[in-house]
Symmetry: D2
Subunit: 377 residues, 4 copies
């Protein structure tokens, strides 16, 4: 693991997610850029001190020569420290599980795609919301043409934790998270759009399989002193004619982690909300709406494959995240058996990551040009 030391949020999430299905064990890492702090974390995490490294280059170097080298590395650092470690491990053909967004900017992203393509390593991006069983259900139903041709997609991801200038209040709860996520040097050109807007964008791609043609964006910054956007409107034109919209905000009081997607086709509609993720509303036109439940009646094998417990026993965020880890584990087993890292898996890939970075940069560009429609290709 790269990152994820004390005070981090997502590192702990990755560790729990990796344990849930018992496919992983944490054996090595660089948990902080400060070696002392890193060692402290290593000790807490019961990682052998000899495998707690001073930096990712050293780790990639040394681990790659061990017989019992790591099967995969998880990169859970802020955005500006994704590219470096990813490339280092890919060069050693060590599989990479990387947090989103992919990189700090498009240049890095394009270069990382090449690194993946020239490596014999699996690369997975933790757009974790694609791991939810009912998201898999939505994807499967759309593939099976239950909605007919897609016409309209409404996605939103609203939070409220940056309603005030948290990033300036050192020592406050949430300060560490707020400070790097609102800092262009560490986050890139997008604030809210990069942090959570990319999840919404990826969720549309994952479920519908549609390719974006053009976008028109309006990025706003409401909190005084903030540099990056904290509220985002994007209108989307997809190939084939579907129209979409993403609203993403971190200044919307009453929204904790409000990721919602609604998809409407010629024959039916679907609606899913991350905060109550075990249910999927399916509305065939001209019939009453149906509530599909995780592992419940008439669910798809693709959804059931990533469910652990019976319907009515709620699974949540960590289980969805774990599904990404377990999908990667399956891919790793396949690679071990076949010797090859095949690139077409159900989990988000480096190409999804590239699209995410393009989505951020093109939205920023559109917004700077008075919401002009920008081609996505």
């Amino acid at each position: 693991m790269i990152g994820g030391g004390q005070g981090a949020f997502i590192g702990a999430v990755h560790r729990i997610a990796s344990r849930i299905d018992d496919h992983y064990e944490l054996v090595a890492g660089v948990f902080s850029s400060d070696l002392e702090k890193s060692k402290l974390s290593a000790s807490e995490l019961r990682v052998d001190p000899s495998r707690c490294y001073s930096g990712y280059e050293e780790m990639a170097e040394k681990e790659s020569t061990r017989e019992d080298k790591v099967d995969a590395v998880a990169i859970v650092t802020p955005n500006h420290v994704h590219y470096g470690p990813a490339v280092s491990f890919l060069k050693k053909d060590i599989n990479v599980i990387c947090d989103k967004p992919l990189t700090l900017n498009l240049e890095e992203a394009v270069s990382l795609v090449k690194a993946v393509e020239s490596s014999n390593a699996i690369f997975a991006l933790t757009h974790n919301y694609t791991g939810y069983p009912m998201v898999r259900q939505a994807r499967a139903m759309i593939k099976d043409n239950k909605l007919g041709k897609i016409r309209v997609i409404q996605a939103e991801y609203a939070q409220d934790w940056l309603t005030t200038n948290l990033e300036s209040k050192e020592g406050e709860d949430g300060y560490k998270q707020a400070s790097w996520r609102t800092d262009p040097k560490r986050s890139g050109a997008g604030g809210c759009i990069g942090d959570i807007g990319t999840h919404a964008f990826n969720l549309i791609s994952f479920t519908t399989g549609l390719n974006l043609k053009e976008l028109s964006a309006e990025l706003s910054t409401f909190v005084e002193g903030r540099v990056l956007d904290d509220n985002v409107q994007v209108m989307l034109r997809y190939e084939g004619g579907a129209k979409g919209s993403i609203w993403s905000s971190q200044v919307a009081p009453g929204n904790e982690n409000g990721l919602t997607i609604r998809i409407y086709g010629e024959k039916a509609g679907l609606s899913w909300n991350q905060e109550n993720p075990n249910y999927l509303k399916f509305s065939p036109h001209g019939k009453p709406s149906v509530t599909l439940t995780r592992s419940g009646a008439e669910t798809h094998p693709d959804a059931n494959a990533v469910s652990r417990i019976p319907p009515g026993h709620p699974e949540g965020y960590l289980e969805g995240f774990a599904n990404i880890y377990s999908d990667v584990a399956n891919a790793i087993w396949e690679k071990i058996e076949t010797g090859k890292a095949t690139s077409q898996f159900i989990f988000p890939s480096v190409y999804d990551g590239l699209n995410g970075i393009k989505f951020v940069e093109k939205s920023v560009e559109s917004s700077r040009h008075n919401s002009k429609w920008i081609s996505f290709s």
Copy 2:
């Protein structure tokens, strides 16, 4: 009443709404452009045949000379038959309750504003959703600065009844409603945006009091053979810096009458949904969300003034509509006492109607220019 004969939807709604608080009695009308049909409806409605007129001009003429003339006329015809009757009655200083949108186009709207201004008659536009008690509650809370400065408004109005080409299927259930609402000659330049988008737009104005500065719109038509838009995205920039968005659709399966508004300020957020209208979610930043209930604890006198029954006994669409009628009745009483039709009432006015038509026409213009931002002034 002008319009509202057999097969009409909104006419019956107006009649029930007018009866609920016992302020009105139906005594005269032109219920159809076909006099025979009109008389049939008059008979069913127990209206004296001698006051069932051949046209609105005749009615305005004759009623205005009676001692027991009508106190107000309700215009419930398709959009292209709003302007004519409205002007006829205004000229006779007969109060007018007119369905929305105001007129067929901006020219008529501007002219109607003048007609209202030069008349001693009350003019009310039935943007009925402003009549819901919890909408009044939202408006009052925003006036009382419970939200702080408004930053973001997300409004949507989604339906599914035009998912297929209903307007072409004569004889089908809904045909009559669908056919005029999708016909530019009777509806004007906007389809979905005029029919329901204007409600969402008006609801933002009513609750927040904000003035629109600019808009950028993307109108789409998904159903083959349809002339007007059936799905609408509009981004909004308000004076003072607030950003808004309206999504309006009539091709979204699973949405019956999904009018929802969410308003976020520096201090708190509010959320209201028309399909379960007795509740208002209030989310002060940094505190748990609170569910305000109609007539329940901590509600505002403005909301309670338009409630009839205790909390938990749901009021609905007709009661909200009735509140507009009762507000108008109060204004009529005031006029009777003072001799003057004062123009500043809580119910939607001709100016709201003008703004609605501007909203439609400028959205159409923006959409035709590739979603260019258009000034609203």
Copy 3:
């Protein structure tokens, strides 16, 4: 109208309900036992002073001799003043619409049944919750055997307004309502069980058509100084083997008017909640649950017959109440045409009222005997 003067709650509800479908006009009444107050109310209600009577006997006497006599009388007084007026009007063959519960006690109820049977008048009891379209839908689906044999019924009716000793606080909001509803001389042997428990009991009968065999009840009084019950548990054994339960409470903070019924059969389940009454959840065993919406897809003609507006436009308590009034109006028309008051209508009858009083008295008896099972026959 008997009762329903100033300060009353249910009188105003009856008046609105009677107006909604334009079948009734209020022309006579005794609005208070105090003639002066009654006249004041009459004036407010625009009732001709000559038809504002000093008592119900006088009204029955005088109205019955008029050519333009009332078509029906609504009795909206506290429970102890139901029997007297009902009998007086029935004797004159004037149709009666009476609020629930039927009478003060079983003796009166039995006697009233006889009065109805020997009269040529229609008698309707306003168990208004049976008027909701989705309650009619539930009833129709059960009749059509969509649930198979009924096994379990869970009904509840919870409120919170009597959480404190409101009845002792003269001058307080709700005092007048609280004082008679907690007074055995005016309410009868049951407090909460009579006031709202009877509604839940009636709703089970109405929807399932089942006959009660035995009951076991536990009545409690939690508020100091209160004489009658304010929390009720009843276990129910129905003929044919179904088991039921009613929980009714007026001391449950957070419950405004929480009437809910859930019915489970061999093949499917149904669930309906009065506070969001336009929806009915239908759960066929082994299939996903379906949400039926008022006037929406796959609804029953019996439900649609009592709906006024399209799905998504919520109807509420007053519309449900109005449906009872309109059903009675239809029965009155039938009587006018045929000369006979037929007794089998869809609206709650004097026999339902008798069962309600039996339910109260037998529950009280069971509770006094340590929740002993008591035969209902």
Copy 4:
């Protein structure tokens, strides 16, 4: 681990729960009564074959003499195989985590209490629903007197999976689970009441701290050929005057795992539903209801101590279950440090288990005596 081999449901749940917070590793077990099957499971679970034992006696014997002996044993067998293994391990002072209900019958339960009392081992019963953060929140609020004196408790636990005679359909999905859960030899005197009713009963005790005084029960069996109850009504009288009710059913179509508890006191009410477990509705009397969210504003340290991720990122059943495991881990650490197994922990104890068995047996007794009130002491 004792039990939990192939085809088992709860064994896998225990294993995931034990891993989530990284306090446990599975190293030994008896996964089936059939040694061959057990070894197969051991191999799949990567347990050293030398620590896969032929029976629990052997395991207790041999493990207790190892230096690296197990820190705790999880007993996840059907009810009739709880007592034997529990006693065997307790005798060796090996800590026990046992699934509920405690034992097959009261005699075993009483005896097991003694075994715990005379052992220096921790004993925990996995009434896992007590592990949910918002259940901890409810408990803490009640302790802090936010509700005032408790008056009414409504608990229910409804499922639908036994709506048909699943236990007779060998080879069907769910057959294995259904067959032992409906068999008195393996489940004890209670069917539904033991399997899930005990959870509801325990949840009342855990949150309110109230002691039961008397109960009156009505147990029913609706499915032909079934021996044990599948629908349960219990009325409860608690010491101090609170009244409660439990409805538990496994034949209620549309209910997947519907565990709900509502608690009403003199000052406020609380409501929690297991299927959407991250929220707790708090209703102070005379004020609007508030929605508390896991880890959100104004939550209690006791709840936050068992939360892993921010509000809006749902935790579920497995995380709640894991909280029991982690609480036990903390107790084990304490025992390792102090040498003593202290008995007063937040997790459910053998005394809770004893109460659960008493609840089952006394409910059965009451039901056999026509729902007679039975003293619980």
